[in-house]
Symmetry: C2
């Protein structure tokens, strides 16, 4: 850590840092030492492979060069692999990697850049891949050309398991969506794709042994086995393991459409269209269930090379079991006191199958029972306390609590969640070592191929940093500054979180004239946590188009955050004149926005629900301008104005069309300040 | 034509047309009759296939539904093929199509939409595909939901051959670039991809018989035969024929790198890096040349199913032939008076090979000699006069003159070029029938995978309309209005002409803050015709990155066009108060832009060359504001001011960094008007 701190101090001394952080690295490496000068990257740039090469290392160099060409606009026929003496960047991986990427493979690397050349050395190809991503983030447009700064970076991940779960069960994501998100994951040094492949709403992988799983349970939306193999290879080339999840015994209605005999109540079953927890569950008392799963897991164990195999195991409500006399009799005969006991029995049986087929079982919190072998891994949606309890029993764990991207939290809120924090803070070193890392989760009730990127990115970058960087890397302002740059930089990887925003707004507006809609959308965020379900105007299902403003609006408003920071600076008395001017201009444009949005509202059904939010923006901005006027005049606002305005703000702070107007808290601060409540406010 | 005119008259009577054309169709159909009301498109929308179905028809419905889902944001599991009685849209193709799409296949269709449902009927699947595209362009966001207007459209193409040539020889375009451009072509009802596959700078198709063509002549940038087959199938699913071009005997240096024995001078040869016309040419006197071509054409004739085969034949400078005594002797022995005679001999020999392998030869103007059989097709870069001469001799022709997208012309200029115009205007009906249509050409000296879309789109839409729509569809304002909408609509097809603009500007700026650079770039256009070569600061080659502002700036500035229209309205005395206000505001923002751009200029090498253009923008906008001030005051500007300002404008009208400041002519009009030259100006 000392080198990193030194680096930070050194940066702070550079005059240009005030406007822009010099190194836009994310996740921040373990140690960074800035040198002097730059290494230019021009048409003559090439990479040399030192020591033993292998086709995968060469392939990773080719991928790096492809990315570098995209960032710099270099022609496809430039930037090649050359002999070491001619190479500008020399890479070396001292060991060869196992054929299938393993948990815990060395990902450390050392990147040394001087004016004259660069050296990237690592123990493994994985380390080289991680170092390449750091190199790409260092590339800047400078007065002398494209260049990377002279720097020495020695880096390694804090956690071994840094994942993203994508739920393709509730909404299917075609292969191209998976590919571009794998590209994004690689850019942020994540190393596990947890692929949630079956749900009540759909079964997404071709099974040759049980073809009705997809012919009846997928709406035709599934991956062929060839597509699965291609995506696994694509991930492997980026240093990403692919862990499949087949959720059982619950969350499994789609299995029962083709195979009702697996269920605990007679069929027929339909693919579920609603969201939530449902009754259907596998029958844990029937041997045919295990015969099916034996064959099925055997087939999938061959298809997915990763040693880990996720069986879900979450959210069984037990209603089908309670209603089935045969299952009740089974419970009594085995002395099971609860459905949890019954599920534990199921898990033990399944674990033996998973293990028989050479895999290690992973499951959600609910699977944890001391009767399972110690090599299983528990993924916690409940929190660090659960992981700590598991660790104390000798089980390995992964944190997903706090990393649910679908809850629309701010990046800062995710960033503050640490796998070793809270309930896991006081583990012994041996116990702590059992916490492998974490996984962000993209549950897909409300994401489509069109907007999933904007739900994952750029916030995932903050979680990726939490899982890779030293625990002390926790400066939120720095994180946001770098995340903003990273967000744009990810455009080069083909992610669509930026590019899909204007087309979605144009569809909503029913017009190409979206300036005013964009001004509004830029300060709206979808409601948080599970409010979208709770406040839904009609019951949400998988059949409803995701084309409303809530589906286009970004989970976290950068405009809102920047405005908030400016208001805070103003109230703290250190806002510059341009900042004060900018606050006023923003308020004026918000106040006047409704006038230009109004004509659109009449021509689009998708805009009609947004009218109240647009009205609120005008009202709130007007209040903000009034507050500014009071302050500019040096006058203290009247109590009546304050009371009335705060009531207005309270009203405007409520969701409209399931969207939150994010500037309300900052306007409230302005109002409080104008009414003389500044001191109280500042101490918040 | 009468129905179309009626339709236009009818549109004009609708009050809402003033703001926005009601039907944003492009190319404009042959006849359009608007009905009353709308047919809504909601989650229950489905398509039924009437009469005989076939897998290709079903596939085209699936493609249509995919596109419709994207436009409306409908879930992947909605919008299905159903039985006809339940279907909202019924499609029928009365005949089945030949296995390989043919020139002249019936593409007509009839689309009838009422409140209650729609019917699309066509003679062939091709017609259905064209009708689907019209339907997709009709989809709008309305107050009641997504909907298409009640309308009857009876449509057919004016020309049988409506193509886009993409030169992948000079800059290779990976398969994904080809795929998205095929999607765009289909959207505009184009039906031929002319694939320029070999050039001095690269040979781009794997040959199993002559592997050194790519192993030595492609820099590793080529399509495998599997990729070729996949792209042909992809095109066929969109009703697009793929005509390969292998340019010979010139433009063929890349062949000679691996096979120098084909050339007319001894090797060795290197892949050409420069642009232009070069000396190397095949040796037309050696039998081994024809043995090679026999085998090669045989292999390619099998790979490419289309009956037409393009042999290039352009721009042989004859220098290698003149310098080779053996070739000179051959000419004398055969009584050839010129190199043109020698090339004609070559073409005859090649035509026999093409014909032997079951194909019909296509070539550029130069191949036309009366000794070739009448079934060949001449593609003219020279103009309609060439086509007319060919037609008079009984040869079929294609126009490409006037459709070169790389020359950076305005859409209006391309739009004005008609295959039946100028020299072809006075042909007999029989002769006229020999003019098959035309092809836009995307020569690729200055395009990369990143910016090729912005060079092709949206201007290609204007050419597509010229080739599809009745000759009388020629209203330029209407074309621009619809082209603008079409440009955005094409985002749904994955084209990147809009989305790649901000990332390219961010790279040039070396910053995410690109607002001021965008203001400047929005009023700059690349120099026209061949000026880029003629004014290049360093000799352009295939090794130079295409990352300058000239590579990002759009070929035609929409901002410039709109500003020009507003100025014209102002000077004609019918500009509204908001328009006058907007003119002033635009001028102010241009005048003040340099101040915000200046800090960026210091940090990026790519911005340095743009400084003079930015300075000019400030100067020119200042002049425009001065002119407005004179006019507002009702004062006539002094002669000295006029002289000085016109000199300034003349200077600012010159290229800077190979970019043209497009507002200069409009500012000149303002200056002339302020100085009292309004009348002269108005009569221009």
């Amino acid at each position: 850590m000392r080198s990193l701190l030194l680096a930070f101090v050194f940066f702070a001394a550079l005059p240009c840092l005030a406007q822009q952080p010099l190194l836009n690295l994310m996740p921040m490496p373990a140690t960074v030492q800035l040198g002097t000068g730059w290494m230019t990257i021009d048409a003559s740039f090439s990479v040399g492979i030192q020591g033993n090469s292998d086709p995968r290392l060469e392939r990773s160099v080719e991928l790096f060069l492809t990315n570098l060409r995209r960032q710099t606009g270099m022609p496809l026929l430039l930037l090649k692999i050359t002999e070491v003496p001619q190479a500008k960047l020399v890479v070396e991986a001292s060991r060869s990697n196992p054929a299938v990427q393993e948990l815990g493979e060395d990902e450390s690397y050392r990147l040394e850049i001087t004016n004259g050349g660069a050296k990237l050395s690592a123990a493994t190809i994985l380390g080289v891949m991680r170092g390449f991503e750091t190199f790409l983030q260092l590339v800047e447009t400078t007065p002398q050309g494209f260049a990377v700064p002279a720097v020495t970076i020695v880096d390694h991940p804090r956690f071994l398991w840094r994942g993203l779960m994508i739920d393709v069960g509730r909404h299917f994501m075609p292969p191209d969506v998976m590919r571009r998100n794998l590209d994004g994951m690689a850019a942020l040094k994540l190393n596990v794709l947890h692929w949630h492949l079956s749900e009540n709403q759909g079964f997404r992988v071709e099974s040759k042994k049980f073809p009705k799983l997809t012919s009846m349970g997928s709406d035709g939306l599934f991956y062929t086995q060839d597509e699965v193999r291609e995506l696994i290879a694509y991930a492997a080339e980026r240093g990403i393991r692919v862990v499949p999840e087949f959720d059982m015994p619950g969350h499994s209605t789609s299995w029962f459409v083709g195979y009702p005999e697996l269920a605990s109540a007679p069929g027929p079953y339909q693919i579920e269209r609603k969201w939530g927890i449902f009754d259907p569950a596998m029958d844990p008392t029937e041997e045919q269930t295990y015969r099916f799963l034996d064959k099925f897991i055997g087939e999938m164990a061959e298809l997915f090379p990763d040693p880990y195999f996720h069986i879900g195991g979450d959210e069984v409500n037990g209603k089908q079991w309670d209603a089935n006399p045969k299952i009740q009799a089974f419970k009594r005969a085995h002395g099971f006191k609860s459905n949890e006991d019954l599920q534990a029995y199921f898990n033990q049986r399944v674990e033996k199958l998973v293990s028989k087929h050479g895999k290690i079982m992973v499951g959600w919190d609910e699977i944890l029972r001391p009767d399972l072998p110690k090599n299983i891994v528990v993924q916690s949606w409940r929190g660090q306390e659960s992981l700590a309890q598991a660790a104390k029993q000798g089980y390995r764990g992964l944190l997903s609590y706090g990393y649910y991207l679908d809850l629309m939290w701010s990046a800062a809120r995710h960033y503050a969640v640490d796998p070793m924090g809270d309930g896991a803070a006081n583990l012994s070193p041996e116990e702590a070592a059992l916490i492998l890392g974490g996984e962000a989760c993209m549950w897909s009730e409300y994401v489509s191929p069109e907007n999933i990127d904007s739900r994952i990115w750029p916030r995932l970058a903050a979680i990726a940093e939490r899982l890779w960087s030293p625990a002390g890397v926790a400066d939120v302002d720095s994180m946001y500054q770098r995340m903003q740059v990273t967000s744009r930089w990810l455009d080069w990887r083909g992610l669509t979180h930026n590019s899909s925003y204007p087309p979605m707004l144009r569809r909503i507006a029913g017009s190409d004239q979206i300036a005013s809609l964009e001004i509004l959308a830029d300060v709206l965020e979808p409601v948080k946590d599970y409010s979208r379900e709770e406040t839904a105007p009609v019951e949400p299902t998988s059949l409803i188009p995701l084309d409303r403003l809530i589906d286009a609006a970004r989970p976290e408003s950068a405009t809102g955050r920047q405005f908030g920071a400016m208001v805070d600076a103003l109230l703290a008395g250190h806002a510059s004149a341009p900042t004060r001017q900018q606050i006023r201009q923003m308020l004026i444009s918000w106040r006047d926005n409704q006038a230009s949005l109004q004509p659109l509202e009449k021509q689009s059904f998708l805009l009609q629900e947004v009218v109240p939010a647009s009205d609120n923006l005008t009202r709130v901005a007007t209040a903000g301008l009034e507050a500014l006027d009071y302050m500019d005049r040096g006058a203290r606002a009247e109590e009546a104005w304050k009371t009335q305005t705060l009531a207005l703000l309270e009203d405007a702070g409520k969701q409209q069309a399931q969207l939150l107007l994010v500037i309300v808290p900052s306007i409230e601060k302005l109002v409080q300040a104008a009414a003389g409540g500044t001191t109280a406010l500042m101490s918040r």
